[in-house]
């Protein structure tokens, strides 16, 4: 049981997908201007990533491995993820037009979020079982959401702050992201309490 807890905690904090693995940076920089948007994006990504981890495990375990088609892993995962994202978009557009509005073009862009492809691939290389895959996916996505929300909060403040002209916009955001990344390195110490 504790091993599952460690999978989740490790994915959320110690190996935070954004700050430690440096994955999924484009939505991280792109959708972090407003807190509400960031939260919506985090929720959508969490859903997609968890689904993608489950689906890719099934495809890998029952379709690719029996047929010795491991070399098609990346391709088939991408196709699956794209389909899930499309499905999510259709459902969100129907059920919550407001969220769809808020997420805008970043929703289809979840497809190209490297975190969403990276985590299922990591699942394979870390030899996670089905439940671990799901938890790892959900944990990573929660880590992504956490990073996104923290960062959006800071960026909202940056809007009102006195920043030298040449640092305004993406430049100061990159500096901030770097500092946050440093801060998250501190979680590596959690390892000791295993």
């Amino acid at each position: 049981m504790t091993s599952y807890l460690f999978v989740v905690l490790g994915a959320v904090l110690v190996n935070n997908v954004v700050f430690v693995r440096i994955l999924g940076l484009c939505p991280f920089m792109g959708v972090s201007k407003k807190l509400e948007t960031a939260a919506g994006m985090g929720a959508a990504t969490t859903f997609v990533l968890t689904m993608a981890c489950g689906a890719s495990y099934v495809i890998d375990r029952w379709l690719l491995i029996p047929n010795q088609l491991e070399y098609l892993r990346t391709l088939s995962f991408i196709v699956t993820i794209a389909a899930i994202v499309q499905l999510t978009e259709l459902v969100i557009q129907k059920t919550s037009p407001l969220l769809h509005q808020v997420l805008g073009i970043y929703l289809p862009l979840i497809t190209t979020n490297c975190a969403v492809l990276g985590i299922p691939l990591l699942n394979v290389s870390l030899r996670h079982n089905f439940l671990e895959s799901l938890l790892f996916g959900a944990g990573s996505a929660i880590g992504f959401t956490l990073a996104l929300i923290l960062f959006a909060g800071i960026r909202e403040r940056l809007e009102a702050a006195d920043i030298p002209v040449h640092f305004r916009g993406t430049a100061i955001a990159m500096v901030t992201a770097g500092l946050m990344s440093l801060a998250f390195m501190g979680f590596a110490g959690l390892d000791k309490y295993k």
């Binding site: 379709l63 047929n67 098609l72 088939s76 196709v79 389909a83 259709l90 037009p97 509005q101």
Partner: protein
């Protein structure tokens, strides 16, 4: 090789079918985006954007047919809001569509007006009252300053007058601290 092709083809068919079904099942009517864009536009209905009104322009933006910098009355601030809403980059106002002017209202010179009603027909918000061979006048409060009534007037009796600052519409200015030279030297 055959197995690989079969697996990928199977995947494509299954996912395609699922998406196709979802597209039909979750079809959405209408476009809420147009409403949001329309809410930002200043509603002068002036047509300077090369569309016949604010809503057609909003529709064109939503479809991606028009740029967001074609609305002179909205000015830079309006463009910034549109850029925010649509996640596009801010662009300065496109020169071919006009320049941002201070908000003004049309005024009819009552000495010259011949009561031809042409301006009444041109006004998009029905802000001109009058009748055939009767003096016309502009309801200043309703006038959006679109200037559409200027060209049809056969006697050029309509002019645009900038809205003057009054005690009612006066705004507190952004606080600016003047550094006086003495203090500067002391500091």
């Amino acid at each position: 090789m055959l197995a690989a092709l079969l697996v990928m083809a199977l995947g494509a068919v299954v996912l395609g079918a699922a998406l196709g079904y979802a597209a039909v099942r979750f079809r959405v009517e209408g476009d809420p985006l147009v409403e949001k864009i329309d809410a930002i536009l200043p509603q002068t209905q002036c047509g300077q954007c090369s569309y016949p009104g604010c809503r057609p322009y909003a529709t064109a933006i939503a479809k991606g047919e028009a740029e967001i910098n074609q609305c002179p009355p909205g000015g830079d601030e309006g463009i910034r809001k549109l850029a925010d809403l649509l996640g596009r980059e801010f662009k300065s106002l496109s020169a071919e569509h006009g320049i941002e002017k201070p908000k003004s209202v049309a005024v009819i010179d009552e000495q010259i007006c011949i009561g031809c009603t042409l301006c009444i027909q041109a006004c998009p918000v029905d802000a001109i009252v009058g009748a055939s061979k009767q003096l016309h006048t502009v309801i200043a409060r309703q006038c959006t300053g679109c200037e559409l009534c200027l060209p049809p007037c056969p006697v050029d009796c309509i002019s645009m007058q900038a809205i003057r600052e009054s005690v009612e519409n006066w705004k507190w200015k952004y606080p600016v601290f003047k550094i006086n030279p003495a203090q500067r030297e002391a500091a």
